[in-house]
Protein backbone atom coordinates (compact mmCIF):
# COMPACT_ATOMS: atom_id res chain seq x y z
CA UNK A 1 0.00 0.00 0.00
CA UNK A 2 3.08 2.22 0.25
CA UNK A 3 3.06 3.14 -3.43
CA UNK A 4 -0.45 4.53 -3.22
CA UNK A 5 -1.10 7.85 -4.90
CA UNK A 6 -4.02 9.81 -3.43
CA UNK A 7 -5.89 12.90 -4.49
CA UNK A 8 -9.39 14.27 -4.23
CA UNK A 9 -11.68 14.67 -7.22
CA UNK A 10 -15.40 14.36 -8.00
CA UNK A 11 -16.20 14.74 -4.30
CA UNK A 12 -14.29 11.64 -3.22
CA UNK A 13 -10.79 10.35 -2.61
CA UNK A 14 -9.10 8.75 -5.60
CA UNK A 15 -6.51 6.04 -4.92
CA UNK A 16 -4.05 4.78 -7.52
CA UNK A 17 -1.72 1.82 -7.03
CA UNK A 18 1.04 0.63 -9.32
CA UNK A 19 1.46 3.84 -11.31
CA UNK A 20 4.68 5.62 -12.13
CA UNK A 21 4.88 9.41 -12.01
CA UNK A 22 3.74 10.11 -15.60
CA UNK A 23 0.81 7.73 -15.13
CA UNK A 24 -0.11 9.39 -11.85
CA UNK A 25 -0.13 12.79 -13.50
CA UNK A 26 -2.17 11.48 -16.42
CA UNK A 27 -4.76 9.86 -14.15
CA UNK A 28 -5.07 12.95 -11.99
CA UNK A 29 -5.48 15.13 -15.07
CA UNK A 30 -8.12 12.74 -16.41
CA UNK A 31 -10.19 13.02 -13.22
CA UNK A 32 -9.79 16.80 -13.03
CA UNK A 33 -10.90 17.21 -16.64
CA UNK A 34 -13.95 15.02 -16.10
CA UNK A 35 -14.84 16.88 -12.91
CA UNK A 36 -14.55 20.24 -14.66
CA UNK A 37 -16.80 19.03 -17.46
CA UNK A 38 -19.45 17.10 -15.54
CA UNK A 39 -19.76 18.73 -12.11
CA UNK A 40 -23.20 19.96 -11.09
CA UNK A 41 -21.49 22.47 -8.81
CA UNK A 42 -19.06 24.18 -11.20
CA UNK A 43 -21.04 26.85 -13.08
CA UNK A 44 -18.65 26.75 -16.03
CA UNK A 45 -18.96 22.98 -16.51
CA UNK A 46 -20.46 21.67 -19.71
CA UNK A 47 -23.12 19.88 -17.66
CA UNK A 48 -24.27 23.19 -16.16
CA UNK A 49 -24.32 24.73 -19.64
CA UNK A 50 -26.44 21.85 -20.95
CA UNK A 51 -28.76 22.08 -17.96
CA UNK A 52 -29.19 25.82 -18.51
CA UNK A 53 -30.13 24.98 -22.12
CA UNK A 54 -32.94 22.58 -21.17
CA UNK A 55 -35.75 22.90 -23.70
CA UNK A 56 -33.40 23.69 -26.58
CA UNK A 57 -31.14 21.62 -28.78
CA UNK A 58 -27.50 21.97 -27.83
CA UNK A 59 -24.35 20.62 -29.47
CA UNK A 60 -22.22 18.87 -26.86
CA UNK A 61 -18.62 17.70 -26.86
CA UNK A 62 -17.78 14.10 -27.82
CA UNK A 63 -16.86 13.37 -24.18
CA UNK A 64 -20.20 14.68 -22.95
CA UNK A 65 -22.10 12.74 -25.59
CA UNK A 66 -20.25 9.57 -24.64
CA UNK A 67 -21.22 9.93 -20.98
CA UNK A 68 -24.83 10.83 -21.76
CA UNK A 69 -25.19 7.87 -24.13
CA UNK A 70 -23.69 5.59 -21.46
CA UNK A 71 -26.19 6.94 -18.91
CA UNK A 72 -29.12 6.51 -21.29
CA UNK A 73 -27.89 3.02 -22.13
CA UNK A 74 -27.77 2.18 -18.42
CA UNK A 75 -31.31 3.55 -18.14
CA UNK A 76 -32.43 1.27 -20.96
CA UNK A 77 -30.61 -1.77 -19.57
CA UNK A 78 -32.28 -1.31 -16.19
CA UNK A 79 -35.76 -0.52 -17.53
CA UNK A 80 -35.55 3.02 -16.19
CA UNK A 81 -34.36 2.16 -12.69
CA UNK A 82 -31.25 4.26 -13.31
CA UNK A 83 -32.17 7.62 -14.73
CA UNK A 84 -29.84 10.51 -15.67
CA UNK A 85 -32.58 13.15 -15.26
CA UNK A 86 -32.77 13.12 -11.47
CA UNK A 87 -30.77 16.29 -10.82
CA UNK A 88 -33.77 18.18 -9.43
CA UNK A 89 -34.68 15.21 -7.24
CA UNK A 90 -31.22 15.45 -5.67
CA UNK A 91 -31.59 19.20 -5.21
CA UNK A 92 -35.04 18.69 -3.65
CA UNK A 93 -33.54 16.18 -1.23
CA UNK A 94 -30.98 18.84 -0.27
CA UNK A 95 -27.94 17.70 -2.27
CA UNK A 96 -27.42 21.13 -3.81
CA UNK A 97 -23.71 21.71 -3.19
CA UNK A 98 -20.48 19.74 -2.78
CA UNK A 99 -21.14 16.87 -0.40
CA UNK A 100 -18.42 18.08 1.99
CA UNK A 101 -20.30 21.35 2.37
CA UNK A 102 -23.70 19.77 3.08
CA UNK A 103 -25.00 20.59 6.55
CA UNK A 104 -28.11 19.36 8.35
CA UNK A 105 -31.05 21.58 7.52
CA UNK A 106 -34.42 22.14 9.15
CA UNK A 107 -35.95 22.88 5.77
CA UNK A 108 -38.22 20.08 4.55
CA UNK A 109 -37.32 18.29 1.32
CA UNK A 110 -38.65 19.95 -1.83
CA UNK A 111 -41.15 18.43 -4.26
CA UNK A 112 -40.53 15.02 -5.79
CA UNK A 113 -39.05 14.88 -9.29
CA UNK A 114 -39.47 11.44 -10.91
CA UNK A 115 -37.20 10.50 -13.81
CA UNK A 116 -37.87 11.82 -17.31
CA UNK A 117 -35.14 10.09 -19.30
CA UNK A 118 -37.65 9.07 -21.95
CA UNK A 119 -38.05 12.73 -22.89
CA UNK A 120 -34.35 13.30 -23.61
CA UNK A 121 -33.73 13.44 -27.36
CA UNK A 122 -30.39 12.73 -29.01
CA UNK A 123 -29.24 13.29 -32.58
CA UNK A 124 -25.58 12.36 -32.59
CA UNK A 125 -23.96 15.15 -30.59
CA UNK A 126 -27.09 17.27 -30.68
CA UNK A 127 -29.11 16.69 -27.55
CA UNK A 128 -32.29 18.10 -26.15
CA UNK A 129 -33.60 17.72 -22.61
CA UNK A 130 -37.12 18.92 -21.82
CA UNK A 131 -37.60 22.13 -19.83
CA UNK A 132 -37.43 21.55 -16.10
CA UNK A 133 -34.99 18.65 -16.36
CA UNK A 134 -31.61 18.72 -14.64
CA UNK A 135 -29.19 16.07 -15.85
CA UNK A 136 -26.94 14.35 -13.33
CA UNK A 137 -24.30 12.04 -14.82
CA UNK A 138 -22.12 11.61 -11.76
CA UNK A 139 -22.51 7.85 -11.47
CA UNK A 140 -21.46 6.94 -14.99
CA UNK A 141 -18.81 9.66 -15.19
CA UNK A 142 -16.96 8.45 -12.09
CA UNK A 143 -17.13 4.82 -13.19
CA UNK A 144 -15.88 5.69 -16.68
CA UNK A 145 -13.04 7.75 -15.21
CA UNK A 146 -11.98 4.78 -13.07
CA UNK A 147 -12.09 2.50 -16.14
CA UNK A 148 -10.10 4.95 -18.22
CA UNK A 149 -7.63 5.53 -15.38
CA UNK A 150 -6.98 1.80 -14.99
CA UNK A 151 -6.32 1.54 -18.73
CA UNK A 152 -3.41 3.94 -18.27
CA UNK A 153 -1.67 1.49 -15.92
CA UNK A 154 0.85 -0.46 -17.96
CA UNK A 155 2.30 -2.78 -15.32
CA UNK A 156 -0.49 -3.79 -12.94
CA UNK A 157 -2.18 -1.92 -10.14
CA UNK A 158 -5.62 -0.48 -9.68
CA UNK A 159 -7.63 2.74 -9.52
CA UNK A 160 -10.32 3.41 -6.93
CA UNK A 161 -12.70 6.34 -6.50
CA UNK A 162 -15.53 6.33 -4.02
CA UNK A 163 -17.08 2.91 -4.31
CA UNK A 164 -15.63 2.12 -7.74
CA UNK A 165 -12.47 0.12 -8.36
CA UNK A 166 -10.90 -1.19 -11.56
CA UNK A 167 -7.76 -3.30 -11.86
CA UNK A 168 -4.95 -3.68 -14.34
CA UNK A 169 -3.93 -7.05 -12.86
CA UNK A 170 -5.54 -9.55 -10.45
CA UNK A 171 -5.70 -8.03 -6.96
CA UNK A 172 -7.04 -8.97 -3.52
CA UNK A 173 -9.59 -6.38 -2.47
CA UNK A 174 -11.06 -5.66 0.96
CA UNK A 175 -14.81 -5.19 0.80
CA UNK A 176 -16.82 -2.64 2.72
CA UNK A 177 -18.66 -4.36 5.52
CA UNK A 178 -15.89 -6.93 5.96
CA UNK A 179 -14.38 -9.73 3.95
CA UNK A 180 -12.15 -9.76 0.90
CA UNK A 181 -12.11 -11.24 -2.58
CA UNK A 182 -9.60 -11.64 -5.34
CA UNK A 183 -10.69 -9.60 -8.31
CA UNK A 184 -9.44 -11.65 -11.26
CA UNK A 185 -10.97 -9.64 -14.07
CA UNK A 186 -13.09 -6.52 -14.43
CA UNK A 187 -14.07 -4.11 -11.69
CA UNK A 188 -15.97 -3.77 -8.43
CA UNK A 189 -18.50 -1.14 -7.47
CA UNK A 190 -20.29 -0.67 -4.17
CA UNK A 191 -23.38 1.50 -3.86
CA UNK A 192 -25.17 2.23 -0.65
CA UNK A 193 -26.91 4.75 1.51
CA UNK A 194 -24.44 4.66 4.39
CA UNK A 195 -21.92 7.17 3.03
CA UNK A 196 -23.57 9.98 1.10
CA UNK A 197 -26.40 10.72 3.48
CA UNK A 198 -27.60 13.85 5.23
CA UNK A 199 -30.54 15.08 7.28
CA UNK A 200 -33.34 17.31 6.07
CA UNK A 201 -36.08 18.32 8.49
CA UNK A 202 -35.14 15.37 10.67
CA UNK A 203 -35.46 12.92 7.78
CA UNK A 204 -32.38 11.07 6.54
CA UNK A 205 -31.79 11.65 2.82
CA UNK A 206 -29.30 9.98 0.50
CA UNK A 207 -28.14 10.20 -3.10
CA UNK A 208 -29.68 7.01 -4.53
CA UNK A 209 -32.94 8.31 -5.94
CA UNK A 210 -35.85 6.06 -6.93
CA UNK A 211 -36.75 7.29 -10.43
CA UNK A 212 -40.38 6.21 -9.96
CA UNK A 213 -40.99 8.35 -6.88
CA UNK A 214 -38.35 11.03 -7.36
CA UNK A 215 -37.31 10.55 -3.72
CA UNK A 216 -34.36 8.81 -2.02
CA UNK A 217 -34.86 5.07 -2.26
CA UNK A 218 -36.28 3.10 0.67
CA UNK A 219 -34.29 0.03 -0.34
CA UNK A 220 -33.73 -2.50 2.46
CA UNK A 221 -30.05 -2.76 1.53
CA UNK A 222 -27.30 -0.91 3.32
CA UNK A 223 -24.89 -1.56 0.46
CA UNK A 224 -24.54 -3.62 -2.70
CA UNK A 225 -21.23 -4.71 -4.22
CA UNK A 226 -21.17 -5.89 -7.82
CA UNK A 227 -18.38 -7.29 -10.01
CA UNK A 228 -18.70 -6.17 -13.62
CA UNK A 229 -16.59 -6.59 -16.72
CA UNK A 230 -15.93 -2.85 -16.45
CA UNK A 231 -16.47 -0.34 -13.70
CA UNK A 232 -19.30 1.15 -15.73
CA UNK A 233 -21.07 -2.21 -15.76
CA UNK A 234 -20.30 -2.84 -12.09
CA UNK A 235 -21.60 0.60 -11.08
CA UNK A 236 -24.72 0.16 -13.22
CA UNK A 237 -25.36 -3.21 -11.62
CA UNK A 238 -24.71 -2.04 -8.06
CA UNK A 239 -26.94 1.04 -8.24
CA UNK A 240 -29.75 -0.78 -10.03
CA UNK A 241 -29.61 -3.76 -7.67
CA UNK A 242 -29.74 -1.41 -4.67
CA UNK A 243 -32.73 0.47 -6.07
CA UNK A 244 -34.57 -2.73 -6.98
CA UNK A 245 -34.70 -3.65 -3.30
CA UNK A 246 -35.51 -7.31 -2.58
CA UNK A 247 -35.61 -8.02 -6.33
CA UNK A 248 -31.96 -6.95 -6.67
CA UNK A 249 -30.26 -10.37 -6.18
CA UNK A 250 -32.54 -12.11 -8.69
CA UNK A 251 -32.05 -9.29 -11.18
CA UNK A 252 -28.27 -9.67 -11.00
CA UNK A 253 -28.54 -13.45 -11.34
CA UNK A 254 -30.74 -13.02 -14.40
CA UNK A 255 -28.00 -10.89 -15.95
CA UNK A 256 -25.20 -13.28 -14.95
CA UNK A 257 -23.51 -10.68 -12.77
CA UNK A 258 -22.02 -11.54 -9.35
CA UNK A 259 -23.09 -9.37 -6.44
CA UNK A 260 -23.11 -9.21 -2.66
CA UNK A 261 -25.77 -7.46 -0.60
CA UNK A 262 -25.71 -6.36 3.05
CA UNK A 263 -29.00 -5.30 4.58
CA UNK A 264 -29.55 -2.82 7.40
CA UNK A 265 -29.24 -5.59 10.01
CA UNK A 266 -25.88 -6.66 8.63
CA UNK A 267 -27.20 -9.82 6.99
CA UNK A 268 -25.15 -10.76 3.92
CA UNK A 269 -26.89 -12.07 0.80
CA UNK A 270 -24.85 -13.31 -2.14
CA UNK A 271 -26.04 -13.89 -5.68
CA UNK A 272 -25.61 -17.38 -7.05
CA UNK A 273 -22.58 -16.37 -9.14
CA UNK A 274 -20.86 -14.53 -6.30
CA UNK A 275 -21.26 -17.55 -4.04
CA UNK A 276 -19.97 -19.92 -6.73
CA UNK A 277 -16.95 -17.75 -7.46
CA UNK A 278 -15.95 -16.95 -3.90
CA UNK A 279 -17.05 -20.03 -1.99
CA UNK A 280 -17.25 -22.73 -4.62
CA UNK A 281 -20.91 -23.63 -4.23
CA UNK A 282 -24.27 -22.03 -4.96
CA UNK A 283 -25.83 -19.80 -2.36
CA UNK A 284 -28.90 -21.03 -0.50
CA UNK A 285 -32.00 -19.27 -1.73
Amino acid sequence: MSDLFRFRSMGCEVLVAGADDPQRRAIRRLFEERDARFSRFIPTSELCHVNRSAGRRVLVSPAFAEALYAALDACRQTDGVLDPTLGWALVSAGYDCDFEALAPSELPPGPAHPGRAGEVRTYGRLISAPPGVLLDLNGVVKAMAVDDGAELLSSGGWVSAGGDLAIASPTDIALPGGGAVRLERGALATSGSSRRRWVRDGIVQHHLIDARTGRPSTSPWEQVTVCGSTCLHADTGARAAFLLGRDGPDWLDDHGVPGRFIDRDGVVVMTRLWAEMTEGWPACT
Binding site: A63, D73, L165, V181, R182, R185, G186, C227, V257
Partner: protein
Amino acid sequence: MNESRIESARSRAAIVKRVAAVAAGAAFVATLLAARSNVPSHAHGKPRPLAVPSGFQRALSGSGISGGQVAPAQSPPSGSTGVS
Protein backbone atom coordinates in the same frame (compact mmCIF):
# COMPACT_ATOMS: atom_id res chain seq x y z
CA MET B 1 -31.35 45.88 -99.78
CA ASN B 2 -33.89 43.33 -98.57
CA GLU B 3 -31.15 40.77 -98.13
CA SER B 4 -29.15 43.20 -96.04
CA ARG B 5 -32.12 43.89 -93.77
CA ILE B 6 -32.73 40.18 -93.32
CA GLU B 7 -29.08 39.60 -92.43
CA SER B 8 -29.20 42.44 -90.00
CA ALA B 9 -32.36 41.07 -88.38
CA ARG B 10 -30.84 37.60 -88.12
CA SER B 11 -27.77 39.06 -86.52
CA ARG B 12 -29.85 40.96 -83.93
CA ALA B 13 -31.92 37.84 -83.25
CA ALA B 14 -28.77 35.78 -82.68
CA ILE B 15 -27.48 38.36 -80.21
CA VAL B 16 -30.80 38.42 -78.38
CA LYS B 17 -30.81 34.62 -78.21
CA ARG B 18 -27.30 34.60 -76.76
CA VAL B 19 -28.15 37.28 -74.24
CA ALA B 20 -31.32 35.44 -73.27
CA ALA B 21 -29.43 32.17 -72.82
CA VAL B 22 -26.70 33.78 -70.70
CA ALA B 23 -29.29 35.65 -68.64
CA ALA B 24 -31.27 32.46 -68.03
CA GLY B 25 -28.12 30.62 -66.96
CA ALA B 26 -27.10 33.46 -64.67
CA ALA B 27 -30.57 33.62 -63.17
CA PHE B 28 -30.51 29.87 -62.56
CA VAL B 29 -27.13 29.98 -60.83
CA ALA B 30 -28.12 33.02 -58.77
CA THR B 31 -31.32 31.34 -57.66
CA LEU B 32 -29.41 28.18 -56.78
CA LEU B 33 -26.86 30.08 -54.67
CA ALA B 34 -29.56 32.12 -52.98
CA ALA B 35 -31.46 28.97 -52.12
CA ARG B 36 -28.35 27.29 -50.72
CA SER B 37 -27.54 30.24 -48.51
CA ASN B 38 -31.03 31.12 -47.33
CA VAL B 39 -33.16 28.00 -47.19
CA PRO B 40 -32.50 25.98 -44.05
CA SER B 41 -33.07 22.66 -45.73
CA HIS B 42 -30.26 23.32 -48.23
CA ALA B 43 -26.68 22.55 -47.31
CA HIS B 44 -24.52 25.70 -46.99
CA GLY B 45 -21.33 23.86 -47.60
CA LYS B 46 -20.00 20.42 -48.13
CA PRO B 47 -21.95 18.08 -45.86
CA ARG B 48 -19.86 17.06 -42.85
CA PRO B 49 -21.11 14.36 -40.48
CA LEU B 50 -21.18 15.06 -36.74
CA ALA B 51 -18.16 13.37 -35.24
CA VAL B 52 -19.01 10.13 -33.50
CA PRO B 53 -17.19 9.92 -30.15
CA SER B 54 -14.70 7.11 -30.11
CA GLY B 55 -16.18 5.73 -26.94
CA PHE B 56 -19.67 5.34 -28.36
CA GLN B 57 -18.82 1.79 -29.21
CA ARG B 58 -18.19 1.05 -25.57
CA ALA B 59 -21.51 2.50 -24.53
CA LEU B 60 -23.55 0.98 -27.29
CA SER B 61 -21.91 -2.35 -27.97
CA GLY B 62 -23.14 -4.11 -24.86
CA SER B 63 -26.74 -5.21 -25.01
CA GLY B 64 -26.66 -5.61 -21.23
CA ILE B 65 -24.38 -5.36 -18.25
CA SER B 66 -21.79 -8.11 -18.03
CA GLY B 67 -20.04 -9.56 -15.05
CA GLY B 68 -16.39 -9.72 -14.13
CA GLN B 69 -14.70 -12.48 -12.18
CA VAL B 70 -13.99 -12.74 -8.47
CA ALA B 71 -12.40 -15.57 -6.52
CA PRO B 72 -11.51 -16.32 -2.91
CA ALA B 73 -8.87 -13.92 -1.59
CA GLN B 74 -5.36 -15.40 -1.72
CA SER B 75 -3.43 -12.89 0.35
CA PRO B 76 -4.01 -9.85 2.56
CA PRO B 77 -5.91 -7.26 0.51
CA SER B 78 -3.77 -4.68 -1.22
CA GLY B 79 -6.75 -2.54 -2.20
CA SER B 80 -10.18 -1.69 -0.94
CA THR B 81 -13.40 -0.22 -2.20
CA GLY B 82 -15.43 2.33 -0.35
CA VAL B 83 -19.14 2.99 -0.76
CA SER B 84 -20.64 5.52 -3.10
